[in-house]
């Protein structure tokens, strides 16, 4: 009757959590290589179709043969395989992987290493992303709890309508309209009445170096909008489901206060899907950062990509996106670990 529990065998036994982590790490390697290869292949096909990042650098000017070849060497697109449609350019891929393993992610058209560019631009993007994730969790979970506690109530309706709008409206529209209404209209009015710096910083149309946090709040809200909506919806549905759960009834029967029943027993379980969703929302954040930083003129990594796209620096786009994908996959790995810690059931299978 007393089934062999986790503590049954001692000694060489690997803990279930350890086994789970080992398996996730093993899965991570092929996923990582696969994603990098898809990126590489997308680039290769792009070049084979009609593009050449080396040629794009010169814009409307026609470069001489030697200029072009020099630029192709810089970008590593001088391999003949790029002329053969359908060739996956495997040798180039392997070469790139070797370079990446040594921390070399290529250079831009002025031969500055992309890694250096990233290092310069990363701090501000990190601040923006941190703010956005905080907003996503604080606002999203609060809204979800308000809606989920009483399904069908006024709050439930408000949350439902606003999240639907946020999910549907593209982030660049949210950003542009927010900038217009809060930055241009309200922000200039604030300046007009001589509001304190912190306040004008909060409602600035663009990033201000003298307000490194305040002027990021509005962009962070824009960046967080999509993930915030999904977080609120997830929290709402899973809280409503868990509140009907048998174990919530048990907790009530134990004479615990309503706050403890909801806040500890129901909410803890409801947050598991929210944490899992953080991985997906992180991908949205990275793509959204390109747009948001472009709109609010933030010189972070997203702004780097935005600028590189505008000036045709395709090689920079590829390198930076590759690094973003690496970061994204690593974050997902971390979130998987977090998930296992939060939900003991996952460690068993």
């Amino acid at each position: 009757m007393g089934g062999p529990g986790a503590g049954g065998l001692k000694g060489l036994e690997v803990t279930p959590l350890g086994r789970y982590l080992a398996r996730r790490l093993l899965q991570f390697v092929p996923t990582l290589l696969g994603a990098l290869f898809i990126l590489h292949y997308l680039m290769t096909v792009g070049i084979q179709l009609n593009g050449d990042p080396a040629r794009a650098v010169f814009g409307d000017r026609t470069p001489s043969q030697s200029q072009l070849q020099a630029m192709q060497r810089v970008f590593g697109t001088d391999d003949p395989c790029f002329e053969q449609a359908g060739n996956p350019c495997l040798t180039v891929f392997v070469h790139r992987l070797e370079n990446m393993a040594q921390g070399d992610f290529g250079v831009d058209s002025r031969e500055r290493p992309v890694v250096t560019l990233i290092a310069e631009h990363a701090p501000i993007t990190a601040r923006l992303a941190l703010l956005a994730i905080l907003i996503e969790l604080l606002v999203g979970v609060t809204a979800g709890v308000l809606a989920g506690l009483r399904g069908g109530s006024f709050w439930d309706y408000v949350v439902k309508v606003s999240t639907t709008m946020l999910v549907a409206i593209p982030i660049f529209v949210v950003g542009a309209v927010t900038q217009l209404v809060l930055g241009v209209e309200f922000g200039s009015w604030l300046k007009g009445v001589g509001a304190p710096d912190l306040l004008t910083g909060l409602f600035s149309i663009a990033y201000r170096t003298d307000q490194p946090w305040a002027s990021l709040v509005m962009p962070a809200f824009v960046l967080a909008s999509l993930s915030l909506a999904t977080t609120a919806r997830l929290t709402r549905t899973s809280l409503m489901e868990n509140l009907r759960g048998d174990y919530v009834r048990t907790a009530t029967a134990k004479g615990l206060t309503r706050n403890r029943v909801v806040g500890v027993h129901a909410l803890r379980n409801s947050l598991i899907p929210v944490i899992t969703n953080l991985g997906i929302s992180f991908g949205n954040l990275l793509a959204g950062a390109v747009v948001t930083e472009g709109i609010f003129n933030i010189r972070g990594i997203g702004g780097l990509v935005f600028g590189a796209v505008a000036t045709g620096e395709a090689a920079t786009v590829v390198s930076v996106v590759t690094i973003l994908v690496l970061v994204y996959l690593l974050c997902n790995l971390i979130i998987d670990v977090l998930y296992a810690v939060l939900d003991p059931r996952i460690r068993l299978d």
């Binding site: 092929p30 996923t31 990582l32 696969g34 994603a35 898809i38 990126l39 997308l42 680039m43 096909v45 792009g46 070049i47 179709l49 009609n50 593009g51 050449d52 990042p53 040629r55 794009a56 639907t164 709008m165 999910v167 549907a168 409206i169 593209p170 982030i171 660049f172 529209v173 542009a176 309209v177 900038q179 217009l180 241009v184 149309i205 991908g283 949205n284 990275l286 793509a287 390109v290 747009v291 472009g294 709109i295 990509v305 935005f306 590189a308 796209v309 505008a310 045709g312 395709a314 786009v317 590829v318 996106v321 973003l324 994908v325 994204y328 996959l329 997902n332």
Partner: protein
């Protein structure tokens, strides 16, 4: 002999039951949808936008490329109800003509994604074994790549951009979610009694798939496809906004918003707001219709 005849009859009957079940599912869903005001409103918006895309002359007689420069940046008036842009083009006509790119990209991409996703999903679900392992792993890897970032890499490589390069990017990157859904519902239906009965009577794989299994996978696939239409409208606009989707002189809501945005600070908010409103309404309509379809087709969620 009689036994065989009997089993033929009963298998036929249960196959019929399967088909009738899915027929009544659609009938129920249709009845349910007609009672939802949100679904009706969404459908109306989609029909209107589609008619703008297919027959823009129904909506405006003005040529959006006929731009008298002296009319630059006029604010909305009786002659130009949405005003004009910096080149003097009629903004209402541009907004109407802007629907076409969005709808074409969305429709073609979604059709391709449906086709690829359904084929991959059916193969993985129906054959199982190593076919399933390989295809599912492949889908996992595509999943690991954020959609817009992948499109960004591909499109930033290209020198010339058109509707078709965007469609290509969307189709290549967009199939995994559909493949997963189709695979799941094929797995679920594969072992149902009426499919087993048909199989035991020696129905060919193709007949099993198309007559018995596919109709059941259709409902979830159509829900996702409806939502994808909205997602692709939004993605096309986003890429055009960034400058690697469509490019002027093509007319697209994304380009209009990008250009309009630079005049926002100088007091011409209409250049931003009109295309933004049309774009948002279209995306919203597709997504709400998808949600309504999901609710209507899945009685468990009611």
């Amino acid at each position: 002999m009689t036994e065989q005849v009997e089993s033929v009859i009963s298998a036929d009957r249960s196959a019929q039951a399967g088909i009738e079940r899915s027929a009544s599912l659609w009938a129920d869903a249709w009845r349910d949808l007609r009672r939802r005001p949100v679904a009706i409103a969404s459908a109306v918006v989609i029909v209107l936008v589609s008619s703008m895309a297919a027959f823009p002359w129904l909506w405006t007689r003005t040529d959006p490329r006929d731009c008298p420069i002296q009319l630059s940046k006029a604010t909305p008036s009786a002659a130009h109800i949405f005003g004009t842009n910096e080149l003097g083009c009629d903004y209402y006509a541009m907004t109407i003509y802007g629907a076409r790119a969005s709808i074409i990209v969305a429709l073609v991409s979604t059709s391709l994604v449906l086709l690829v996703g359904a084929l991959v999903g059916m193969a993985a679900g129906f054959y199982g074994g190593w076919v399933d392992s390989v295809l599912s792993r492949l889908a996992d890897i595509f999943f690991a790549l954020p959609f817009l970032l992948g499109a960004l890499v591909f499109l930033s490589m290209l020198r010339s951009h058109s509707v078709w390069t965007i469609v290509l990017a969307f189709a290549v990157l967009g199939w995994p979610p559909l493949a997963r859904i189709v695979r799941a519902s094929v797995l679920a239906t594969k072992n149902m009694d009426y499919v087993q009965a048909a199989r035991s009577l020696g129905a060919s794989d193709r007949r099993l798939l198309f007559r018995h299994i596919l109709p059941n996978a259709a409902a979830p696939a159509i829900v996702v496809a409806t939502i994808l239409l909205g997602t692709y409208v939004a993605s096309e606009a986003t890429l055009s906004y960034l400058g690697i989707g469509l490019q002027p002189p093509e007319i697209s809501w994304g380009i209009m918003i990008a250009q309009g945005q630079s005049y926002v600070t100088s007091g011409y908010p209409h250049l931003l707001l009109f295309p933004a409103a049309f774009l948002s309404a279209t995306v919203l309509a597709f997504i709400l219709l998808g949600d309504a379809l999901r609710d209507a087709l899945d009685p468990k969620l009611r």
